[in-house]
Symmetry: C2
Subunit: 359 residues, 2 copies
């Protein structure tokens, strides 16, 4: 079999040119005599990889100098617990907005550390939209306001940066980081697992404003204390070195695509095409209110769920993989991150039309 | 440049056949149409990789059925905090043996969670040996006894499994796991980062006896709660999938070498040759008492430290890399893990003799 179009929600498809470069350099990196996997993280070769990684990310996202960039382990899910540990700083409350399964988990874990003020929730409407800001409850005594900028399971994305009324704004951007420009200066902290838009799994990016760190209690594991890791360039202990290298390759690929503003235009076009195909069909349906539809994860259900299995197996026969929706919502889901080529989306649309005609 | 002999303490050299297989499969794994990096961790292909990984490790180490095997993120250093969180179970003390820099760090982090009973320490003798068991102070009210089976910086290794007088025995085996057979049933918990004998960095193995888990307080991050991860086959959140795959390749390589008992014989022979060369020279000196010398990490100092720079640059000219000792102890260090071929050790010995003759 040749390579397929892989619509997995994460880990997810990577640019073929990145894989080819990793393949070419696998046994030896730039005349170093060794694989990146074998390099000491304290050595001169890996120092170049680490420096380029941070400077490329800072440049792609225009990260201001008063923000630290950390490359940690544990996934965004670990941050659900580590953010309150690092940021509460003596406060006893934090505000959370619930717009899907991932913000639900963030709330659930935060409750082990503080009182969660539920600023807004669309749970009663099956997470089909983002609640109107006029209805939000923001407690000025809270340490921060947390939201999930894109919900991979429910396919809901914030169209704009929310107004946190002065609280430090914290965002889980795991599934839409680097897909659109964001004004970092409006945030206290941004975090993201790498396995959607940045590379394989195994690295968690934390971008955090200087003044918010340094107040973690001593029961925060030292390798997850933001201030300790910032002082040590994320090398308080051995980082996931090969994963850093792979993320670095993806960032260089993104630069070659024209950067975040350019990829946003492609993402807008890819998503618009797919939603149009869904909306114009009688068989497929997307339940999310139009202004809040995700550009990254497009869930859709078939009018007759008895056709689900036939849909998935016919799609695989055409080289269209991982279209099954998350078990909690059923139906289908196409994840179309930065690395999904236009041709993949077009092949999916053509297949969906053909399947509708024949069923 | 061609590939060198890399004596790095970790990340460290990998078997060339493993790198070649990873290179060959990089764009597509076993007809799956995708790279392992791109696979959903919930998909049928990755399920095979995950199952083979656990069953190969269980078989290589003869892990009894009443032990869970977890594949986590964060490194062994994260476990310095996570072990007390998971294992204290209401107790307020834990026993620790200090035999080098790594057990020092384990003690320092554990003190944030409980009273540390210092069972034994060789700190006053510059970590040149393991203190005599007759002198150990074991508190029967402690939750466990922790030791570091091999100290990478000081080059000290426990020749036998210590007698914990009935306490659950906990061991950081990061730097000698899979280098020699161990009777797992004598342990409560074994943990190890992968970047020495098991693959690249990014995975932490935890092998833990069933009855010890399930008592973590709710302030333990859920992805680091052993019972939660055990229930979810280490996939409570997205694991470091590609790293799991690479560790799996190293385990299959080890099986092909004849397994742990066979590699131990090679490790004994490699280390004996190198220590003999050091002991017979007038220029090189290893400070560790003979019964406690590490088979994995061989530190040595030059009689004249003014020669250190010349030694390192002459070694690199011969393709012998990463021989500089840790900054905290100075001198040199040759890490000769499972994947270091005999030829690498012989080349080092020949170079050392030649350097001594010419200086």
């Amino acid at each position: 079999m040749s390579r397929v179009y892989n619509f997995s929600a994460g880990p997810s498809t990577l640019p073929e040119s990145v894989l080819l470069q990793a393949q070419q350099e696998l046994l030896e990196w730039r005349g170093s005599g060794m694989s990146v996997m074998e390099m000491s993280h304290r050595g001169k070769h890996f120092a170049i990889i680490a420096e380029e990684l941070e400077s490329d990310l800072r440049s792609l996202l225009a990260i201001p100098d008063n923000y630290k960039v950390l490359f940690l382990q544990g996934g965004a899910s670990a941050q659900f617990s580590l953010i309150p540990q690092n940021l509460l700083n003596g406060k006893t409350k934090a505000c959370y907005i619930k717009t899907g399964a991932w913000s639900e988990k963030a709330v659930s874990d935060a409750q082990n550390y503080c009182e969660v003020v539920l600023t807004a929730s669309s749970e009663a409407e099956h997470y089909s939209h983002v609640p109107e800001p006029a209805t939000w409850l923001i407690d000025s005594d809270a340490a921060y306001l947390h939201y999930t900028s894109n919900e991979t399971i429910h396919g809901v994305e914030f169209p704009d940066i929310p107004d946190s009324k002065g609280l430090p704004l914290v965002s889980d951007m795991s599934s839409n980081i680097l897909s659109r420009p964001v004004d970092i200066s409006q945030f206290g902290l941004i975090y993201a697992g790498t396995q959607k838009n940045m590379g394989p799994s195994g690295v968690t990016i934390v971008i955090v404003r200087d003044d918010l760190i340094g107040h973690a209690p001593k029961t925060t594991p030292s390798v997850f204390n933001y201030a300790e890791q910032a002082k040590n360039q994320s090398m308080l202990n051995t980082p996931a070195t090969y994963n850093w290298y792979l993320v670095g390759l993806v960032l260089k690929w993104l630069q070659a695509q024209g950067g975040v503003a350019a990829i946003e235009q492609r993402n807008i076009a890819k998503a618009a095409k797919l939603y149009q195909a869904i909306d114009q069909s009688a068989l497929y349906h997307n339940p999310v209110a139009i202004p809040y539809r995700s550009r990254m994860n497009v869930p859709f259900i078939l009018a007759d769920d008895g056709l689900d299995k036939a849909f998935i197996s016919a799609a695989e026969a055409q080289g269209l993989y991982e279209l099954k929706g998350h078990r909690s919502v059923g139906g289908m889901r196409a994840s179309i991150y930065n690395a999904m080529p236009d041709a993949g989306v077009e092949a999916l649309i053509a297949f969906m039309a053909e399947f509708e005609r024949s069923h």
